[in-house]
């Protein structure tokens, strides 16, 4: 019974970490650069939020499936196959939660007063140092809110995960998929139990992160 919970937490944590690193870097970059086609890049980065998860899952199969654009090389050169693995579930969850972090991080970075960044430049700081010592600490609340939402989104991820990782109990069956499975097989008691578990975990995560943010403030 607990296996889907641990698997879900593992997948959601790793996905939040991966999407966090990429989303924060992209948010910073997009907040600092002006270039032609910026709106298009922004729209592309937001796509995972509006596309049906099954479409994302399909894209991922095309990309990292055994015969996929990248997948064939991963398989041939490194013997890595991501389909029907929990690592595949991490990739799916990372992709769906990326826009939440990217959007929050970009907005938070854009809110940082440009004079602080200018002041840091005149004091000899390079761009990475400005990011690490000025922008990131000043944007941390907005970014934390994005990370929280991304974690919750990754916990509840269903469609893309089902497409890419399947429904293998003990291996790739996350809580959301286990609930769907239990309902389909008429196992109402288990469905109810799993639903309660995921609800409680989500409330605990939200309360804990809310407290963390308040303490920080």
């Amino acid at each position: 019974m607990l296996t889907p919970l641990w698997l879900t937490l593992k997948v959601a944590l790793l996905a939040t970490g991966a999407a966090g690193a990429v989303g924060i870097a992209l948010g910073w970059w997009m907040s600092q650069r002006r270039f032609a086609g910026k709106n298009i890049v922004d729209a592309m980065l937001m796509l995972p939020m509006v596309l049906p998860p099954t479409v994302l899952g399909y894209y991922l199969i095309v990309l990292i499936g055994r015969n996929g654009v990248l997948g064939q090389y991963l398989d041939r050169w490194f013997g890595i196959n991501l389909i029907f693995t929990w690592q595949g579930a991490v990739i799916a969850a990372s992709l769906v939660s990326l826009p939440l972090i990217y959007k929050a991080a970009r907005a938070a970075f854009e809110d940082v007063d440009g004079r602080f960044l200018h002041a840091a430049r005149t004091l000899g700081a390079g761009e990475f140092e400005i990011f690490a010592r000025i922008a990131l600490p000043l944007a941390v609340r907005g970014i934390a809110a994005g990370l929280m939402l991304a974690f919750a989104r990754a916990m509840g991820e269903f469609g893309a995960t089902l497409m890419i990782a399947g429904n293998l109990p003990g291996k790739t069956q996350t809580l959301s998929i286990a609930i769907y499975d239990a309902v389909q097989s008429g196992n109402d008691a288990q469905a109810l139990w799993l639903t309660l578990v995921i609800s409680v975990v989500c409330v605990v995560v939200l309360v804990a992160s809310g407290r963390m943010l308040q303490a920080k403030h």
């Binding site: 007063d113 200018h118 430049r121 005149t122 004091l123 000899g124 140092e129």
Partner: protein, 229 residues
């Protein structure tokens, strides 16, 4: 004998465009005094000149020479990035890093990412804290400081990395009149003490009289008056 180069030899040209507005800056002046005021009405481009000198604007043409150091000379493909210009800037409202203490603000320009201050750097920080009467405020955050204390921190922070030039952007404009008069005198005394070439932006003739030895008048992005006492 080699002639002594002027303190400031500036020619900055750039065009700033925003929706519905186009501003052409073409400011050229030379100053032989160590404290120069840049005066003009609001919107005349004073702050833009400071930004161009500090290297904070993209696509600036011309040259910036400070006491013989060339920071920009587009004719000879010299364009130092802001971080390498050694130009200290005190911003309007001071722009102190709000998440850092007074000491951390001062140390920012001395210690790069991941470094701890060396003994010499720590000694410089301590000396500046004493010199600017900030010793008792080492651990304070900017939001807990008064206007005068903020001004002193901003000035000390700009001076910490030993800049070739100090730029002051309307350093007194955020203050009410009684405080402004007191801090003007304080600032004049501090500038006298630190002896770093200074370019000061203001629209207040009293600031020019108290703080500068010469003045350059800017109007619509162009210099309309040569440095004068």
């Amino acid at each position: 004998m080699t002639p002594v180069p002027p303190v400031l030899d500036i020619h900055v040209q750039t065009t700033l465009e925003s929706p519905g507005r186009r501003f052409v800056l073409d400011a050229r002046f030379v100053s032989t005094t160590s404290r120069t005021a840049l005066i003009g009405i609001s919107g005349s481009g004073k702050s833009t000149v400071l930004m161009a000198i500090a290297g904070l604007l993209p696509r600036v043409q011309g040259h910036v020479r400070v006491a013989g150091h060339t920071l920009l000379d587009t004719a000879n493909a010299v364009d130092l990035p802001a971080r390498a210009r050694r130009v200290g800037m005190v911003f309007q409202d001071y722009a102190l890093f709000p998440h850092m203490t007074v000491t951390q603000n001062l140390a920012f320009g001395l210690c790069r990412l991941g470094q701890r201050p060396s003994e010499a750097e720590q000694a410089r920080i301590d000396a500046l804290l004493r010199q600017f009467d900030l010793d008792t405020l080492r651990g304070a955050l900017p939001r807990h400081l008064s206007g005068g204390q903020r001004q002193r921190v901003a000035l000390a922070r700009a001076l910490a990395p030993q800049p070739h030039l100090l730029l002051l952007d309307e350093p007194l404009s955020a203050l009410d009149t009684p405080l402004r008069i007191r801090l003007r005198a304080e600032l004049a005394e501090m500038l006298e003490r630190v002896q770093v070439p200074t370019l000061l932006v203001t629209h207040d003739p009293s600031d020019v009289q108290a703080l500068a030895q010469s003045a350059v008048h800017l109007d619509g992005g162009h210099v309309t008056g040569a440095p004068a006492l």
